[in-house]
Symmetry: C2
């Protein structure tokens, strides 16, 4: 990974955040970031390689979420604050797009993206549960539910932009489950 590669990847990433990955094509991208299709292919091997690099780059922006909280609902609140922040919306759009695409196209650079992020996040949430709860069936259900609420709320927020309404719904949930254990 050379310096020039990083530089162009960063520029391409900003472009992808604005324009999406679905109909990304090399010539308009290259023109927008002051490069050329020739160079992009030279540095990333192929368009698929570039897209893979972009997806990996996007993952790096999610990594701040990986610190370990020791309470599931507390972690969820923190994650929701991050998801609801307006400056992350382009990233979440990109995420949603990649997720959807990986569901219909088993091949290509999107392959396995949806499955991988679900596993990532469930693992992250599991790490926030006390070990005694973590391995129970109810513990699994609880973190699956938290993930569903966060993901579903994110979809709503991306479509409507109605942050107060969606945040109210999320907070209603988290304040409700925090002190209930079957």
């Amino acid at each position: 990974m050379t310096a020039r590669q990083d530089e162009l990847l960063e520029a391409a990433y900003r472009y992808a955040l604005d324009n999406g990955l679905a109909d990304l094509s090399l010539r308009p991208l290259a023109a927008a970031i002051g490069s050329s299709p020739r160079v992009l292919l030279f540095l990333f091997g192929s368009k698929d390689g570039l897209v893979r690099a972009l997806l990996e780059r996007a993952r790096a922006d999610e990594r701040p979420l990986l610190d370990d909280t020791k309470d599931l609902d507390q972690a969820a609140v923190r994650i929701w604050e991050w998801l609801a922040a307006a400056e992350h919306r382009p990233l979440l759009r990109l995420w949603t797009e990649s997720y959807a695409r990986s569901l219909t196209e088993p091949d290509g650079p999107w392959a396995g993206f949806a499955r991988a992020t679900v596993d990532d996040w469930l693992g992250l949430l599991a790490a926030c549960q006390p070990p005694a709860e973590r391995n129970t069936a109810d513990g699994t259900a609880r973190r699956t539910l938290v993930l569903a609420v966060l993901r579903g709320a994110m979809l709503d927020l991306l479509a409507t932009g109605d942050e107060p309404r969606v945040t109210a719904a999320v907070r209603r949930q988290l304040s409700a489950t925090s002190h209930r254990h079957h």
Copy 2:
């Protein structure tokens, strides 16, 4: 809407369920359903017109959900049964794809799709709430939350196919909120 139009739309719809809308193109589609690009354009005006017709056709498959239950959680359970059914998975993939696409492309046949379905579903859920609750802030939060759980669970299910785990999470939620009112 002639008979031939219906016939080809139905065939194209089945094709789209299997192959997605993202990289749908006329020639492969026409070949698969025994038609020709010429005919598809003649009957639907343009490719965008065809895609619009396909999205509308997909909505028709959602309409069975619109009967009116008089309890929000009861409605949610019924909706989840429908979402979790294996035979609806291609439709849900198509839905997710269209939703994601409409987030990044303000123009084209997908325009407004995400926003429209959120409004549709929130309206449907509101109709299941008692009028006294419906117009309160808490009522809005409650149906927003139900929608988020269903959508998030659906995303999980599409990615992992782990129906028992996700259904357990959904049922955990619904049995929890049904008799709680702030």
